[in-house]
């Protein structure tokens, strides 16, 4: 049971290593070059899985702030003072525009507001999944696709030159031509 528990505790690592080894097996054992490339792709995907899993937290949500987390309720009240001129502007732009307003009162109010909102902006990092590993993996996916593309292009060139994509046949041809 204990062994099972340790596996269950870190099962994302076990899974990524298993997938990775499946990929490695294909790279080593398969004779067909395209199958080797598929193995390589599986190998890379396992690492993507690993990265994505380390960004996960239990009970966490996507790392986007909700409207009422950034704009607490009394924000609306301060708004009402000099309402009309801002009313047209979009909600998202409001905080920026208030800074450029020449009305001193508005600026003061804005300062108070921003301090206020910072004070009440309680963000608990545990509520949000870590987005950084996911962002990194976007790049790694692109790299993986590019690698696979180059690999397939090379395989195509090999097929044109040797008329085969079986590694053993290609090596035999090279040996014969020596």
């Amino acid at each position: 049971m204990e062994a099972l528990e340790t596996i269950a505790e870190s099962f994302n690592y076990w899974i990524y290593i298993t997938i990775m080894m499946i990929g490695l097996y294909a790279i080593v054992a398969k004779n067909n070059l395209v199958k080797k490339l598929i193995g390589m792709s599986i190998f890379q995907t396992a690492i993507i899985l690993f990265y994505v899993s380390i960004g996960y937290k239990e009970g966490a949500t996507i790392p986007i702030l909700y409207h009422d987390q950034v704009h607490p309720p009394h924000h609306e009240d301060a708004e009402a003072h000099h309402g009309t001129e801002h009313a047209i502007k979009e909600a998202a732009e409001e905080t920026h525009d208030e800074g450029s307003d020449h009305d001193e009162h508005a600026e003061e109010a804005e300062h108070a507001l921003s301090e206020d909102s910072h004070g009440s902006l309680e963000i608990d990092p545990n509520e949000f999944a870590n987005p950084l590993p996911h962002v990194l993996m976007l790049t790694a996916i692109v790299v993986g696709v590019a690698t696979l593309g180059v690999g397939l292009a090379i395989t195509q060139k090999l097929y044109r030159e040797f008329g085969s994509i079986e590694e053993s046949e290609i090596i035999e041809q090279i040996r014969d031509s020596k």
Binding site: I47, I54, V150, I154, L158, E161
Partner: protein, 504 residues
């Protein structure tokens, strides 16, 4: 302008690659001058960065103004300023050499070839100057993907070699990426300096996670640099690629990977961790000894000129890996010095091999027969490179080996010293065999009179664009040898901050 120098080193070749790829197919004549101009500008930028570092200490350049650890930082100190200069100069020299060869070896594809070439150079330069561990991975793959393509443009066998390289290289880079992931789990940072600070601040020396990260990164980088048991991809890829590709890759790729290893050991993990907590040094030095001997023996067995040289690269990689893990200050200085000098030594002999191949169309070492009379300038250039690989003063190779051997003696790793000397002797045997053939011709007893005389008599000195790069490289090798004190003191400035065990 000068404060932008760090990013310009990388941007010149990178943006020109796009221009060459787009405009090159229509205006063929433009490619070569554009490549030269961009690499020339890159050399200027890296020299500016080097002088700035020497005057004011390390440069920290924030890309887009985002401060680390959130933004990507280019951090340039004495070590990577020197390596960046070496990389950009080698790229420029190879580009000059490439003028006739690219069109001859890859007809009709020169614009694509040059675009890939520039991307390779910008990837390598990026690896050297970046201060961000993940950014390094991306640039590693930029340089690797372009080099697969550059190799596959060669003959039939190069294509198969490129496929093997692709699979091996991807596994290596994946290991590196995985290692960075483990570091990120524990430190929450990707900036190299910040990772080190977190490791020290959180006292993570005993953590198995960090240990796994260290092993994965080291093995990944070893695959990429062709450290002996992991070297299988290298010889065929570099021997059968187009000559321009093998010139630039043989001289740069492995050496840049050694730079990455030094950066990881010294800056990210810190020498205390790498050499004391893990206590591997002796095992790695023994592995390096095996690599040196295997590379030398492999080279002895080859009759193909370029393939023989590729085995020497494997031996040289052994020198440098061993030099790092001697965990000795002099050894470290020797390793960094050897990166700089080996870049040019390898370039020199590969340029020679390229010229021989383009002149005679033959791959084996008997192609050089009688070349002293026909191509004296080329042979002089080759002699300097060969003497440097053997380690004859006043060439650069002598001084770097001197430091390495001294490091080996200081740290008491006698097996390393012996291996270095044996390998130097083997190099002497290899190169004097070539020199003998070039000077006296092949002995009739060896039965190689098949290609005697006839078409060989027509051979004369290569075009200006081939001889000039070779002689320039030879001059640089002698220059490094003559100014060895100055270069060593720059390196010492860098190494001394890490408090390695200084020799007696």
């Amino acid at each position: 302008m000068t404060e932008q120098a760090p990013v310009l080193i990388l941007l010149f070749p990178f943006l020109t690659a796009v221009v060459v790829a787009l405009a090159g197919s229509r205006y063929k004549g433009l490619c070569w001058p554009l490549v030269l101009a961009s690499l020339g500008a890159s050399v200027c930028a890296s020299l500016t960065a080097l002088t700035q570092v020497l005057e004011n200490g390390p440069i920290r350049y924030y890309l887009g103004g985002w401060a680390p650890p959130f933004g990507i930082e280019f951090r340039i100190d004495q070590l990577n300023a020197l390596v960046a200069v070496a990389v950009s100069v080698v790229a420029l020299i190879t580009a000059i050499y490439s003028k006739d060869n690219v069109e001859a070896e890859t007809p009709g594809k020169s614009s694509q070839y040059y675009a890939l070439f520039l991307l390779l150079v910008s990837g390598l330069l990026g690896i050297v100057i970046t201060g961000d561990a993940f950014n390094l991975y991306v640039l590693l793959e930029v340089s690797a993907l372009t080099s697969y393509a550059l190799i596959a443009m060669g003959n039939k066998r190069a294509t198969l070699a490129a496929f093997k390289y692709l699979v091996m290289g991807t596994i290596g880079a994946s290991f590196y990426l995985l290692g960075v992931g483990y570091l990120y789990i524990k430190t929450g940072s990707l900036n190299m300096v910040d990772i080190h600070e977190q490791l020290v601040a959180l006292d993570l020396a005993g953590s198995p996670t960090i240990q796994v990260g260290f092993i994965l990164i080291t093995v990944g980088v070893w695959i990429k640099m062709a450290f002996f048991p992991l070297h299988a991809w290298l010889p065929n890829s570099y021997a059968f690629a187009p000559t321009t590709s093998s010139n630039i890759m043989a001289s740069l790729v492995t050496k840049v990977m050694i730079y990455v290893m030094i950066r990881m050991v010294l800056t990210v993990f810190g020498p205390d961790y790498a050499f004391e907590v893990l206590n591997w040094d002796n095992i790695v030095v023994w592995l390096a000894v095996i690599a040196i001997l295997a590379g030398s023996i492999g080279a002895l067995a080859q009759k193909d000129l370029r393939k023989m040289l590729t085995f020497l690269i494997i031996a040289e990689v052994g020198y440098m890996v061993g030099g790092v893990w001697l965990a000795d200050e002099t050894g470290m200085i020797g390793t960094i010095f050897h990166i700089i000098s080996d870049v040019f030594m390898t370039l020199c002999v590969f340029l020679f091999a390229g010229i021989v191949f383009s002149k005679t169309g033959l791959r084996d070492i008997y192609a050089v027969e009688g070349m002293f009379k026909k191509m004296p300038l080329t042979m002089i250039g080759f002699l300097v490179g060969a003497f440097s690989l053997i380690g004859i003063p006043p060439t650069a190779g002598f001084f770097s080996k001197w430091y390495l051997i001294q490091g080996g003696i200081n740290s008491g790793n006698w097996e390393y010293v012996v291996a270095l000397i044996i390998s130097s002797l083997v190099n002497a045997v290899l190169f004097f065999r070539i020199i003998e053939i070039a000077y006296f011709g092949v002995k009739p007893a060896e039965g190689h009179d098949a290609h005697h005389g006839d078409d060989h008599t027509k051979i004369s000195e290569g075009p200006f664009t081939q001889v000039l790069p070779l002689l320039a490289t030879a001059a640089i090798i002698l220059g490094i040898g003559i100014f060895n004190k100055e270069i060593a003191s720059i390196i010492q400035d860098f190494v001394s901050q890490f408090n390695l065990v200084a020799g007696i």
